[in-house]
Symmetry: C2
Subunit: 210 residues, 2 copies
Protein backbone atom coordinates (compact mmCIF):
# COMPACT_ATOMS: atom_id res chain seq x y z
CA UNK A 1 0.00 0.00 0.00
CA UNK A 2 1.37 3.35 -0.95
CA UNK A 3 2.25 5.94 1.60
CA UNK A 4 -1.06 7.71 2.03
CA UNK A 5 0.74 11.01 2.56
CA UNK A 6 2.13 10.92 -0.92
CA UNK A 7 -0.99 9.49 -2.46
CA UNK A 8 -2.86 11.99 -4.53
CA UNK A 9 -6.30 11.87 -3.01
CA UNK A 10 -8.22 11.90 -6.24
CA UNK A 11 -9.15 8.24 -6.38
CA UNK A 12 -12.68 7.46 -7.43
CA UNK A 13 -14.57 4.20 -7.70
CA UNK A 14 -16.21 5.86 -10.66
CA UNK A 15 -18.93 8.36 -9.92
CA UNK A 16 -22.51 7.28 -9.81
CA UNK A 17 -24.21 8.81 -12.82
CA UNK A 18 -27.79 9.78 -13.33
CA UNK A 19 -28.05 7.01 -15.90
CA UNK A 20 -26.88 4.51 -13.27
CA UNK A 21 -29.63 5.70 -10.94
CA UNK A 22 -32.31 5.63 -13.61
CA UNK A 23 -31.33 2.09 -14.54
CA UNK A 24 -31.74 0.98 -10.93
CA UNK A 25 -35.00 2.90 -10.52
CA UNK A 26 -36.31 1.59 -13.82
CA UNK A 27 -37.67 5.02 -14.73
CA UNK A 28 -36.37 8.40 -15.81
CA UNK A 29 -35.93 11.26 -13.40
CA UNK A 30 -38.18 14.26 -13.96
CA UNK A 31 -39.82 17.18 -12.23
CA UNK A 32 -43.59 17.14 -12.33
CA UNK A 33 -44.55 20.73 -11.63
CA UNK A 34 -48.18 21.18 -10.56
CA UNK A 35 -49.46 24.72 -10.90
CA UNK A 36 -52.92 26.07 -10.21
CA UNK A 37 -55.12 28.12 -7.91
CA UNK A 38 -55.33 27.57 -4.19
CA UNK A 39 -57.86 24.77 -3.70
CA UNK A 40 -57.42 23.41 -7.22
CA UNK A 41 -56.09 20.13 -5.83
CA UNK A 42 -52.32 20.37 -6.42
CA UNK A 43 -51.28 18.89 -3.08
CA UNK A 44 -53.92 16.20 -3.23
CA UNK A 45 -52.81 15.18 -6.72
CA UNK A 46 -49.13 15.40 -5.78
CA UNK A 47 -49.59 13.09 -2.80
CA UNK A 48 -51.82 10.71 -4.74
CA UNK A 49 -49.30 10.60 -7.58
CA UNK A 50 -46.52 9.98 -5.09
CA UNK A 51 -48.44 7.03 -3.67
CA UNK A 52 -49.23 5.64 -7.11
CA UNK A 53 -45.61 5.92 -8.26
CA UNK A 54 -44.24 4.57 -5.00
CA UNK A 55 -46.55 1.56 -5.28
CA UNK A 56 -45.10 0.94 -8.74
CA UNK A 57 -41.62 0.88 -7.26
CA UNK A 58 -40.60 4.35 -8.41
CA UNK A 59 -38.40 6.75 -6.51
CA UNK A 60 -40.46 9.87 -5.88
CA UNK A 61 -40.58 12.82 -3.51
CA UNK A 62 -43.06 15.66 -3.10
CA UNK A 63 -42.03 19.24 -2.49
CA UNK A 64 -44.84 21.36 -1.12
CA UNK A 65 -45.56 24.06 1.39
CA UNK A 66 -45.31 21.61 4.27
CA UNK A 67 -41.66 20.75 3.74
CA UNK A 68 -40.41 23.92 2.02
CA UNK A 69 -42.05 26.97 3.55
CA UNK A 70 -41.00 26.14 7.10
CA UNK A 71 -37.63 24.81 6.03
CA UNK A 72 -35.54 25.93 3.10
CA UNK A 73 -37.68 28.98 2.34
CA UNK A 74 -38.63 30.06 5.82
CA UNK A 75 -36.58 33.25 5.37
CA UNK A 76 -38.76 34.35 2.47
CA UNK A 77 -41.85 36.51 2.65
CA UNK A 78 -44.36 37.44 -0.02
CA UNK A 79 -42.73 40.38 -1.76
CA UNK A 80 -42.35 40.03 -5.54
CA UNK A 81 -38.62 39.29 -5.11
CA UNK A 82 -39.26 36.72 -2.42
CA UNK A 83 -41.98 34.99 -4.43
CA UNK A 84 -39.60 34.68 -7.34
CA UNK A 85 -36.78 33.42 -5.11
CA UNK A 86 -39.21 30.95 -3.53
CA UNK A 87 -39.92 29.41 -6.91
CA UNK A 88 -36.28 29.52 -7.99
CA UNK A 89 -35.11 27.59 -4.93
CA UNK A 90 -37.88 25.03 -5.31
CA UNK A 91 -36.82 24.61 -8.92
CA UNK A 92 -33.19 24.10 -7.92
CA UNK A 93 -34.12 21.51 -5.31
CA UNK A 94 -36.43 19.72 -7.75
CA UNK A 95 -33.49 19.69 -10.16
CA UNK A 96 -31.34 17.91 -7.56
CA UNK A 97 -33.98 15.24 -7.00
CA UNK A 98 -34.33 14.87 -10.76
CA UNK A 99 -30.56 14.51 -11.05
CA UNK A 100 -30.86 11.79 -8.43
CA UNK A 101 -32.98 9.92 -11.00
CA UNK A 102 -36.18 10.56 -9.08
CA UNK A 103 -39.56 12.05 -9.76
CA UNK A 104 -39.80 15.37 -7.95
CA UNK A 105 -43.44 16.38 -7.69
CA UNK A 106 -44.01 20.00 -6.72
CA UNK A 107 -47.25 21.52 -5.52
CA UNK A 108 -47.11 25.31 -5.41
CA UNK A 109 -49.52 27.86 -6.86
CA UNK A 110 -46.60 29.36 -8.82
CA UNK A 111 -48.91 31.88 -10.49
CA UNK A 112 -46.41 33.61 -12.77
CA UNK A 113 -45.49 32.22 -16.16
CA UNK A 114 -42.10 33.89 -16.01
CA UNK A 115 -41.18 32.06 -12.82
CA UNK A 116 -42.27 28.68 -14.13
CA UNK A 117 -40.40 29.30 -17.38
CA UNK A 118 -37.30 30.16 -15.34
CA UNK A 119 -37.52 26.77 -13.67
CA UNK A 120 -38.08 25.07 -17.02
CA UNK A 121 -34.96 26.80 -18.31
CA UNK A 122 -32.91 25.49 -15.35
CA UNK A 123 -33.59 21.94 -16.35
CA UNK A 124 -32.93 19.60 -19.19
CA UNK A 125 -35.54 19.79 -21.94
CA UNK A 126 -37.25 16.56 -20.97
CA UNK A 127 -36.83 16.98 -17.25
CA UNK A 128 -39.66 19.43 -16.64
CA UNK A 129 -43.31 18.53 -16.96
CA UNK A 130 -45.67 21.39 -16.28
CA UNK A 131 -49.06 20.16 -15.12
CA UNK A 132 -51.84 22.69 -15.08
CA UNK A 133 -54.20 21.75 -12.28
CA UNK A 134 -57.14 23.63 -13.67
CA UNK A 135 -60.25 24.32 -11.69
CA UNK A 136 -62.87 27.04 -11.93
CA UNK A 137 -62.35 29.75 -9.34
CA UNK A 138 -65.84 29.33 -7.90
CA UNK A 139 -65.17 25.63 -7.32
CA UNK A 140 -61.85 26.37 -5.62
CA UNK A 141 -63.57 29.01 -3.53
CA UNK A 142 -66.37 26.63 -2.58
CA UNK A 143 -63.80 24.03 -1.52
CA UNK A 144 -61.68 26.60 0.37
CA UNK A 145 -59.88 23.84 2.32
CA UNK A 146 -57.86 26.26 4.42
CA UNK A 147 -60.42 29.06 4.66
CA UNK A 148 -58.09 31.31 2.68
CA UNK A 149 -60.65 32.51 0.14
CA UNK A 150 -62.91 33.63 2.94
CA UNK A 151 -60.08 35.62 4.44
CA UNK A 152 -59.06 37.00 1.06
CA UNK A 153 -62.63 38.14 0.35
CA UNK A 154 -62.67 39.80 3.74
CA UNK A 155 -59.54 41.70 2.74
CA UNK A 156 -57.42 39.93 5.35
CA UNK A 157 -54.97 38.53 2.77
CA UNK A 158 -53.55 41.07 0.36
CA UNK A 159 -52.67 39.89 -3.13
CA UNK A 160 -54.38 36.54 -2.98
CA UNK A 161 -54.06 34.66 -6.25
CA UNK A 162 -57.34 34.58 -8.18
CA UNK A 163 -58.95 37.24 -5.97
CA UNK A 164 -56.64 40.22 -5.76
CA UNK A 165 -53.58 38.94 -7.64
CA UNK A 166 -53.39 37.33 -11.07
CA UNK A 167 -52.98 33.68 -11.94
CA UNK A 168 -51.25 33.25 -15.28
CA UNK A 169 -52.35 29.94 -16.73
CA UNK A 170 -49.69 27.91 -18.56
CA UNK A 171 -49.58 28.58 -22.28
CA UNK A 172 -48.35 25.12 -23.24
CA UNK A 173 -48.36 22.77 -20.26
CA UNK A 174 -47.36 19.16 -20.81
CA UNK A 175 -50.67 18.16 -19.24
CA UNK A 176 -53.86 19.85 -18.05
CA UNK A 177 -56.02 18.22 -15.43
CA UNK A 178 -59.45 19.70 -14.81
CA UNK A 179 -60.11 18.81 -11.23
CA UNK A 180 -63.59 20.30 -11.44
CA UNK A 181 -64.45 17.64 -14.03
CA UNK A 182 -62.29 14.64 -13.13
CA UNK A 183 -61.92 12.58 -10.00
CA UNK A 184 -58.54 12.21 -8.34
CA UNK A 185 -58.26 8.66 -9.69
CA UNK A 186 -58.95 9.87 -13.21
CA UNK A 187 -56.29 12.55 -12.86
CA UNK A 188 -53.74 10.03 -11.61
CA UNK A 189 -54.58 7.69 -14.50
CA UNK A 190 -53.90 10.51 -16.94
CA UNK A 191 -50.65 11.42 -15.25
CA UNK A 192 -49.42 7.83 -15.29
CA UNK A 193 -50.52 7.42 -18.90
CA UNK A 194 -48.61 10.56 -19.86
CA UNK A 195 -45.47 9.38 -18.07
CA UNK A 196 -45.69 5.99 -19.77
CA UNK A 197 -46.45 7.38 -23.20
CA UNK A 198 -43.47 9.73 -23.04
CA UNK A 199 -41.00 7.15 -21.85
CA UNK A 200 -40.58 8.32 -18.25
CA UNK A 201 -42.09 5.13 -16.89
CA UNK A 202 -41.36 1.70 -18.24
CA UNK A 203 -44.50 -0.08 -19.42
CA UNK A 204 -45.95 -2.15 -16.62
CA UNK A 205 -47.43 -5.51 -17.66
CA UNK A 206 -50.01 -5.59 -14.91
CA UNK A 207 -51.03 -1.97 -15.31
CA UNK A 208 -54.75 -1.39 -15.62
CA UNK A 209 -55.77 -0.20 -19.07
CA UNK A 210 -56.20 3.53 -19.22
Amino acid sequence: MKNPKSENISWHHGDVTRADRERVHNHRGATIWMTGLSGSGKSTLARALESALFERGCSVYVLDGDNIRHGLNRDLGFSPEDRKENIRRIGEVAKLFTDAGMFAVTAFISPYREDRDMVRALMGKQDFLEVYVECALDVCEARDPKGLYKKARAGQIPEFTGISAPYEAPAAPELTLRTDQLTVDQCIERLLAHLSAHGYLAPEPEAAGV
Copy 2:
Protein backbone atom coordinates in the same frame (compact mmCIF):
# COMPACT_ATOMS: atom_id res chain seq x y z
CA MET B 1 -69.10 7.89 -9.33
CA LYS B 2 -69.90 11.03 -7.42
CA ASN B 3 -70.24 14.37 -9.07
CA PRO B 4 -66.65 15.62 -9.02
CA LYS B 5 -67.84 19.18 -8.50
CA SER B 6 -69.35 18.30 -5.17
CA GLU B 7 -66.60 15.91 -4.21
CA ASN B 8 -64.39 17.21 -1.47
CA ILE B 9 -60.95 16.89 -3.04
CA SER B 10 -59.14 15.61 0.01
CA TRP B 11 -58.86 11.98 -0.95
CA HIS B 12 -55.55 10.30 -0.26
CA HIS B 13 -54.27 6.82 -1.04
CA GLY B 14 -52.42 7.21 2.22
CA ASP B 15 -49.29 9.27 2.18
CA VAL B 16 -45.94 7.63 1.63
CA THR B 17 -44.09 7.84 4.92
CA ARG B 18 -40.40 7.96 5.61
CA ALA B 19 -40.72 4.53 7.19
CA ASP B 20 -42.25 3.20 3.95
CA ARG B 21 -39.26 4.53 2.02
CA GLU B 22 -36.71 3.19 4.47
CA ARG B 23 -38.35 -0.24 4.30
CA VAL B 24 -38.04 -0.25 0.51
CA HIS B 25 -34.47 1.08 0.60
CA ASN B 26 -33.51 -1.38 3.31
CA HIS B 27 -31.60 1.29 5.18
CA ARG B 28 -32.26 4.36 7.30
CA GLY B 29 -32.14 7.84 5.89
CA ALA B 30 -29.41 10.08 7.29
CA THR B 31 -27.22 13.04 6.48
CA ILE B 32 -23.51 12.30 6.47
CA TRP B 33 -21.91 15.70 6.87
CA MET B 34 -18.24 15.80 5.89
CA THR B 35 -16.35 18.77 7.26
CA GLY B 36 -12.67 19.62 6.92
CA LEU B 37 -10.08 21.83 5.30
CA SER B 38 -9.86 22.42 1.59
CA GLY B 39 -7.87 19.49 0.18
CA SER B 40 -8.65 17.23 3.12
CA GLY B 41 -10.51 14.83 0.85
CA LYS B 42 -14.17 15.56 1.58
CA SER B 43 -15.38 15.39 -2.02
CA THR B 44 -13.28 12.34 -2.78
CA LEU B 45 -14.65 10.52 0.25
CA ALA B 46 -18.19 11.68 -0.46
CA ARG B 47 -18.06 10.34 -4.02
CA ALA B 48 -16.37 7.12 -2.96
CA LEU B 49 -18.95 6.62 -0.22
CA GLU B 50 -21.72 7.31 -2.72
CA SER B 51 -20.32 4.63 -5.02
CA ALA B 52 -19.89 2.14 -2.20
CA LEU B 53 -23.44 2.71 -0.91
CA PHE B 54 -24.94 2.68 -4.39
CA GLU B 55 -23.21 -0.63 -5.12
CA ARG B 56 -24.84 -2.01 -1.98
CA GLY B 57 -28.24 -0.99 -3.31
CA CYS B 58 -28.65 2.08 -1.11
CA SER B 59 -30.34 5.29 -2.12
CA VAL B 60 -27.73 8.04 -1.82
CA TYR B 61 -27.01 11.51 -3.17
CA VAL B 62 -24.04 13.84 -2.76
CA LEU B 63 -24.40 17.56 -2.22
CA ASP B 64 -21.21 19.46 -2.94
CA GLY B 65 -19.95 22.62 -4.54
CA ASP B 66 -20.55 21.26 -8.01
CA ASN B 67 -24.31 20.95 -7.67
CA ILE B 68 -25.00 23.61 -5.01
CA ARG B 69 -22.81 26.63 -5.57
CA HIS B 70 -23.86 27.13 -9.18
CA GLY B 71 -27.45 26.16 -8.49
CA LEU B 72 -29.40 26.68 -5.30
CA ASN B 73 -26.79 28.93 -3.71
CA ARG B 74 -25.54 30.85 -6.70
CA ASP B 75 -27.02 34.04 -5.24
CA LEU B 76 -24.74 33.79 -2.21
CA GLY B 77 -21.31 35.31 -1.80
CA PHE B 78 -18.76 34.90 0.95
CA SER B 79 -19.88 37.41 3.55
CA PRO B 80 -20.42 35.99 7.04
CA GLU B 81 -24.21 36.11 6.52
CA ASP B 82 -23.97 34.41 3.15
CA ARG B 83 -21.66 31.68 4.45
CA LYS B 84 -24.15 30.94 7.20
CA GLU B 85 -27.07 30.96 4.77
CA ASN B 86 -25.09 28.68 2.44
CA ILE B 87 -24.77 26.08 5.17
CA ARG B 88 -28.35 26.52 6.33
CA ARG B 89 -29.77 25.85 2.87
CA ILE B 90 -27.51 22.85 2.35
CA GLY B 91 -28.73 21.55 5.69
CA GLU B 92 -32.36 22.03 4.69
CA VAL B 93 -31.85 20.24 1.39
CA ALA B 94 -29.98 17.40 3.09
CA LYS B 95 -32.92 17.15 5.46
CA LEU B 96 -35.29 16.69 2.50
CA PHE B 97 -33.15 13.88 1.07
CA THR B 98 -32.99 12.33 4.53
CA ASP B 99 -36.77 12.58 4.81
CA ALA B 100 -36.89 10.77 1.46
CA GLY B 101 -35.22 7.87 3.28
CA MET B 102 -31.90 8.48 1.55
CA PHE B 103 -28.32 9.05 2.57
CA ALA B 104 -27.44 12.66 1.85
CA VAL B 105 -23.67 13.03 1.82
CA THR B 106 -22.44 16.62 1.99
CA ALA B 107 -18.93 17.83 1.22
CA PHE B 108 -18.38 21.42 2.28
CA ILE B 109 -15.60 22.93 4.37
CA SER B 110 -18.27 24.24 6.79
CA PRO B 111 -15.58 25.68 9.08
CA TYR B 112 -17.79 27.05 11.85
CA ARG B 113 -19.03 24.87 14.68
CA GLU B 114 -22.06 27.09 15.15
CA ASP B 115 -23.21 26.52 11.57
CA ARG B 116 -22.78 22.76 11.74
CA ASP B 117 -24.60 22.70 15.06
CA MET B 118 -27.43 24.69 13.49
CA VAL B 119 -27.79 21.97 10.85
CA ARG B 120 -27.64 19.27 13.50
CA ALA B 121 -30.43 21.04 15.36
CA LEU B 122 -32.59 21.10 12.19
CA MET B 123 -32.60 17.34 12.03
CA GLY B 124 -33.75 14.42 14.05
CA LYS B 125 -31.23 13.27 16.66
CA GLN B 126 -30.11 10.23 14.68
CA ASP B 127 -30.33 11.87 11.28
CA PHE B 128 -27.09 13.82 11.37
CA LEU B 129 -23.66 12.23 11.29
CA GLU B 130 -20.82 14.69 11.47
CA VAL B 131 -17.68 13.28 9.89
CA TYR B 132 -14.49 15.17 10.56
CA VAL B 133 -12.25 14.72 7.54
CA GLU B 134 -9.06 15.51 9.36
CA CYS B 135 -5.81 16.21 7.58
CA ALA B 136 -2.75 18.21 8.57
CA LEU B 137 -2.71 21.62 6.96
CA ASP B 138 0.69 21.05 5.36
CA VAL B 139 -0.63 17.88 3.68
CA CYS B 140 -3.69 19.70 2.40
CA GLU B 141 -1.48 22.49 1.16
CA ALA B 142 0.87 20.06 -0.56
CA ARG B 143 -2.10 18.42 -2.30
CA ASP B 144 -3.67 21.78 -3.22
CA PRO B 145 -5.87 20.12 -5.88
CA LYS B 146 -7.39 23.39 -7.07
CA GLY B 147 -4.36 25.61 -6.52
CA LEU B 148 -6.28 27.53 -3.88
CA TYR B 149 -3.63 27.42 -1.17
CA LYS B 150 -1.12 28.92 -3.55
CA LYS B 151 -3.52 31.75 -4.30
CA ALA B 152 -4.34 32.20 -0.64
CA ARG B 153 -0.66 32.40 0.31
CA ALA B 154 -0.23 34.97 -2.43
CA GLY B 155 -3.00 36.99 -0.80
CA GLN B 156 -5.32 36.52 -3.75
CA ILE B 157 -8.06 34.85 -1.69
CA PRO B 158 -9.05 36.76 1.44
CA GLU B 159 -10.27 34.75 4.42
CA PHE B 160 -9.16 31.35 3.20
CA THR B 161 -9.90 28.65 5.75
CA GLY B 162 -6.75 27.41 7.47
CA ILE B 163 -4.61 30.27 6.15
CA SER B 164 -6.36 33.53 6.91
CA ALA B 165 -9.64 32.31 8.39
CA PRO B 166 -10.22 29.79 11.18
CA TYR B 167 -11.31 26.19 10.89
CA GLU B 168 -13.16 25.07 13.99
CA ALA B 169 -12.73 21.33 14.32
CA PRO B 170 -15.76 19.36 15.52
CA ALA B 171 -15.85 18.88 19.28
CA ALA B 172 -17.70 15.57 19.16
CA PRO B 173 -18.04 14.28 15.62
CA GLU B 174 -19.70 10.93 15.04
CA LEU B 175 -16.56 9.87 13.17
CA THR B 176 -13.09 11.23 12.47
CA LEU B 177 -11.18 10.12 9.39
CA ARG B 178 -7.51 11.06 9.18
CA THR B 179 -6.93 11.23 5.47
CA ASP B 180 -3.24 11.92 6.03
CA GLN B 181 -2.96 8.49 7.65
CA LEU B 182 -5.59 6.35 5.94
CA THR B 183 -6.24 5.45 2.34
CA VAL B 184 -9.58 6.22 0.74
CA ASP B 185 -10.53 2.55 0.93
CA GLN B 186 -9.74 2.47 4.64
CA CYS B 187 -11.87 5.56 5.20
CA ILE B 188 -14.79 4.04 3.31
CA GLU B 189 -14.49 0.83 5.32
CA ARG B 190 -14.70 2.84 8.52
CA LEU B 191 -17.68 4.79 7.28
CA LEU B 192 -19.54 1.65 6.25
CA ALA B 193 -18.65 -0.04 9.53
CA HIS B 194 -19.99 2.95 11.45
CA LEU B 195 -23.23 2.95 9.48
CA SER B 196 -23.66 -0.79 10.04
CA ALA B 197 -22.76 -0.69 13.73
CA HIS B 198 -25.26 2.09 14.37
CA GLY B 199 -28.13 0.50 12.50
CA TYR B 200 -28.22 2.77 9.46
CA LEU B 201 -27.28 -0.06 7.15
CA ALA B 202 -28.67 -3.54 7.41
CA PRO B 203 -25.93 -6.14 7.89
CA GLU B 204 -24.81 -7.48 4.53
CA PRO B 205 -24.00 -11.19 4.45
CA GLU B 206 -21.37 -10.87 1.74
CA ALA B 207 -19.70 -7.79 3.24
CA ALA B 208 -15.96 -8.02 3.64
CA GLY B 209 -14.87 -8.12 7.26
CA VAL B 210 -13.75 -4.72 8.45
